[in-house]
């Protein structure tokens, strides 16, 4: 079995589209609403979740034959909590401003359903390398949606991308106004709904009756 056999490719790339944690499994919606009003926190959140899911998957996968069954959820939580705390400390040291914007949501990665879902459903039954790919895939699937939503919310809501003004002043002179509503969480839900709509049109097998 090669490092990127067909099965492993499916594990890695499946969550990006056909099995996307946000738009197909409907997990992690809460943080997707909260941190996507700007592009930068959305990217940092996506990277943080990817790192935490990937490493938590690997650790749980390595430990999977030793974990006492009765406390396995607790073990998973401790591993997640430890990784999240490390990510939070690293952000505080090297990305202080972004950490302030993300505020409680870094800590709340622990409660992100994607995390526990992957640990319980995948890492407990698969080897470390597959689990790592699964974590990366699911993290990126989540990050992808966050970045798309963050892109449109920052563009339409603030007229900027990553803090740089992209809508020229001439537009404003002609009467264009930033849409303040887009900054508020409810509009994130509408953006996610539109993404799901487009996604379902492209993937007919996902359509429910």
């Amino acid at each position: 079995m090669g490092l990127l056999s067909n099965k492993n490719k499916e594990v890695l790339l499946g969550p990006l589209s056909a099995n996307n944690p946000v738009v197909v499994q409907m997990l992690g919606i809460c943080s997707a609403l909260a941190v996507t009003s700007k592009l930068e926190p959305a990217i940092v959140m996506g990277i943080s979740v990817t790192a935490v899911v990937a490493f938590a998957n690997v650790i749980i996968s390595l430990l999977r034959n030793t974990i006492p069954n009765r406390i396995r959820i607790i073990v998973q939580l401790v591993v997640c909590a430890a990784l999240v705390t490390i990510v939070s400390e690293v952000l505080k040291a090297f990305a202080y401003d972004v950490n302030k914007q993300l505020s409680v949501f870094v800590g709340l990665i622990i409660t992100n359903c994607i995390l526990m879902g992957r640990l319980e459903a995948f890492a407990l039954g698969n080897g470390p390398w597959e689990s790592f790919l699964d974590g990366i895939g699911n993290g990126l699937g989540y990050a992808l949606i966050l970045v798309i939503v963050g892109f449109f919310r920052e563009l339409l809501g603030s007229g900027t991308l990553l803090g740089f003004q992209v809508i020229p002043q001439a537009f404003y002179d002609l009467g264009y106004v930033n849409n303040g509503l887009v900054i508020l969480p409810p509009m994130a839900l509408i953006f996610i709904a539109v993404i799901i709509w487009v996604h379902r049109i492209k993937n007919k097998e996902l359509q429910e009756n």
Partner: protein, 223 residues
């Protein structure tokens, strides 16, 4: 090895917790100096914003050293009790930091404020002109006020209202009130609070009164 035995479960949990504790303690210790530098720069940015100077974090230290000429701790009687280093770290109860800034040749006094909002602590800095009465600028921070409502106190739209307001009326300490938009406060200067952020606005109002009260002796002294 029986993975379902009580002994195994207890030993497993204990070893895991100890390992995690060691790992986290190590991470925290090794990153502490970077975090401290960030926190200090954040504080410098806050102090600079209270004299209406807004700089990115990486320029905060240079700008701070350029504009802040002196800093010291005072006690309730207005006597100096600590140096610049102590003023920056904050001092103990009953000690109040004063930062002396020089903006375009004029002396401004910056004072620290601490209070409570709806969900957690509020703090901020307020600067006054050399008459020690007229407000030059303010900056407010919070730990966890509601985004879009109470958290709006950090925005210039709120903090810029304070410029030009007076802390003393006819030589008497009055502080500055934060009132519901449209209301007024008798006998003292006031600014509009945040609609939907009533408790936070009241918190700011109380914080101004309580914190500036500690500086009363310093502000009335002719020096």
């Amino acid at each position: 090895m029986n993975r379902d035995s009580n002994v195994y479960t207890v030993v497993y949990a204990s070893v895991m917790v100890i390992l995690v504790a060691v790992l986290l303690a190590f991470t925290s210790q090794s990153l502490r100096s970077y975090q401290k530098a960030n926190e200090d720069n954040d504080k410098r940015q806050q102090i600079l914003r209270s004299i209406n100077v807004s700089v990115p974090a990486n320029e905060a230290e240079a700008k701070y050293n350029e504009l802040i000429k002196d800093a010291f701790l005072i006690n309730i009687n207005g006597e100096k009790v600590g140096d610049a280093q102590a003023a920056f770290t904050g001092g103990q109860d009953g000690e109040f930091p004063v930062f002396v800034a020089n903006v375009d040749g004029q002396t401004k006094y910056i004072m620290a404020m601490n209070g409570a909002g709806l969900w957690g602590p509020l703090w901020g800095y307020i600067s006054v002109d050399s008459d020690k009465n007229t407000v030059f600028g303010t900056d407010f921070s919070h730990a966890g006020e509601t985004p879009g409502l109470g958290a709006e106190i950090t925005k210039p739209a709120f903090s810029s209202q304070f410029a030009g307001k007076q802390i003393f009326k006819n030589g008497e300490f009055k502080s500055i009130a934060v009132v519901k938009p449209g209301k007024s406060a008798a006998g003292q200067d006031y600014v509009d609070g945040i609609s939907g952020g009533t408790i936070t606005s009241q918190g700011v109002s109380n914080m101004l009164f309580d914190s500036l009260k500690g500086y009363e002796k310093f502000l009335t002294s002719k020096e």
